[in-house]
Symmetry: C2
Subunit: 279 residues, 2 copies
DNA sequence: CGCACCTTTGAATTGTGTCAATAGCAGTGG
DNA sequence: CCACTGCTATTGACACAATTCAAAGGTGCG
């Protein structure tokens, strides 16, 4: 569902089903074919690229530097971010294996990237990448579709940053990572957090303290379990999903165990709400 | 500098110089050539598209609906937004003449769009648009570059939403619109606001009241003038720019007239700041 | 000139940031 | 194996920026 800025895994298109229909719609199938071709392109690029290794904390690229290389993440996790002049930081995305890094047509990188742990990168000189785009006309289209997906994800993140409360942000974040796991291998119930609380805070527009407090609150509510600081378990996915989307607050709805008088009230009063289309 | 989601005016590439160097760098020139070709593509599309008229408040497209058509804005201003289940709204961008609307490769639109005033749209069936991409291999690349620019703009907006104070948000917003004007015709000192305070609030992650109060504050500080609610004048661009980027707070820096004890203190304490690369 | 909507201003409330201190955990070295 | 060091995470107390509630101007239009 998420990922980030020009970087979404090429497998994003064949992501979690979301709904529960058994069969894929024609459109979905088409998307999968597309993703498969793109995967092929990326597989090829990975082969001709130069493999490079990085350790936790190492800078992979810096905002403002000439965008001379393009990379595919082979292994590990990466954070990309922008800094304000006074040092305030906004992490615009976390990238994982298969995601693209540093794709741009501007002269310089528009963000910085840092390894969250051990990272393997497959790097390609920009010129070579652009040559590939020329040689394979279909490739540009695939990347365009990818960018389109990225853009939609960015908009979703804007909703989170601009309109969600701390609780809703954390719930959304947890579900986001969970969906990621689901789309790959695991069951999506146990989630690994390769990033620090500060990273999470800078991604969600909060502070470390608030992130910590909010995790604790969700834990006390019985919705998640904190195995260790870097490993959590989802105990009540429905409750989290409801919270994340700002659905009608726990009116003891579908779920049985009434959510204990939980006041995660929305940020905006009713007069600030807009009419929701009947659709 | 901004614009938004898959929609940036194709003239964005030849945007305001920003710096003050007299000559364009080679890279910039290349970008201009690129933009020119893209403009040609778009000009062609406009010709074969169907022109359609809308009035203020009319919905141009709805989030979740099948993305059947693609459009170029011929005239007028448009807001695109996403709604939460409870009606909270996040406007992810304002679009103007020349901007693209509804470009996606997903089955459905990921956002809604509404006319801010009288709007003329040049619409193209999605299939026809995709056929064009096939016929003109270079076109996909141009749109890819465009999307890349959009993505960078989206990240910039995330910094605003996640890390800026109300004052900084408004200052950034005003400058953003000013830069837009600059890149076209006017001097960029007088700025037209075709959107309401509520729209601005939903774009910046604030409430109407806060937007109003903040405009008043900037006015009292002598940095802007409010001719009418929909027309403002920039009186001190440097002060606004400094505020917008979170530069060192008014320590009576370069500017002469000391900013009256202004406490627009940053959102994060020093221990929450990150080291800024010497670059 | 009166309705409808938008904007501005005031007063009170509160979610989240700030400051401060303690707890947890990994790695190092004696 | 344990003390020591350096981080990161958690928790508490308090402050404040921005929201909520409320009401008074403005402005445009039929």
């Amino acid at each position: 569902m998420s990922r980030a800025m020009f970087s979404t895994s090429y497998s994003a298109a064949k992501a979690p089903n979301g709904g529960a229909q058994g069969l894929l719609s024609g459109e979905r199938q088409a998307a999968n074919v597309c993703a498969a071709i793109l995967a092929e392109d990326i597989g090829y690029m990975t082969k001709i690229a130069v493999s490079q290794h990085f350790s936790a904390g190492q800078t992979l690229l810096n905002e403002g530097e000439p965008a001379s290389r393009f990379a595919i993440i082979g292994e590990g996790a990466v954070k990309i971010y922008k800094l304000m002049l006074d040092g305030r930081r906004q992490i615009t995305g976390f990238l994982f294996a298969g995601d693209l890094l540093g794709l741009t047509f501007a002269p310089d990188y528009s963000y910085s990237a840092e390894a969250l742990g051990e990272v393997r990168l497959h790097r390609l000189p920009r010129q070579q990448f652009e040559r590939l785009l020329d040689e394979r006309p279909a490739m540009a289209r695939h990347f365009l579709a990818l960018a389109s997906t990225e853009l939609a994800a960015a908009q979703t993140q804007m909703v989170l940053l601009g309109r969600k409360s701390a609780d809703e942000k954390i719930a959304s974040f947890v579900l986001m990572l969970s969906d990621r796991e689901l789309s790959r291998d695991r069951n999506g119930r146990t989630i690994d957090l390769p990033m620090t609380r500060t990273d999470i805070a800078d991604y969600l527009g909060l502070t470390t303290e608030t992130v910590s407090r909010t995790f604790t609150r969700l834990k006390n509510r019985g919705w998640i379990a904190l195995e260790t600081a870097g490993l959590i378990t989802i105990l009540d996915r429905d409750a989290l999903a409801n919270l994340a989307e700002g659905g009608d607050m726990p009116e003891t709805g579908g779920r049985v165990f009434a959510s204990p008088g939980f006041g995660a009230r929305p940020i905006l009063r009713s007069s600030h709400r807009h009419e929701v289309r009947a659709a």
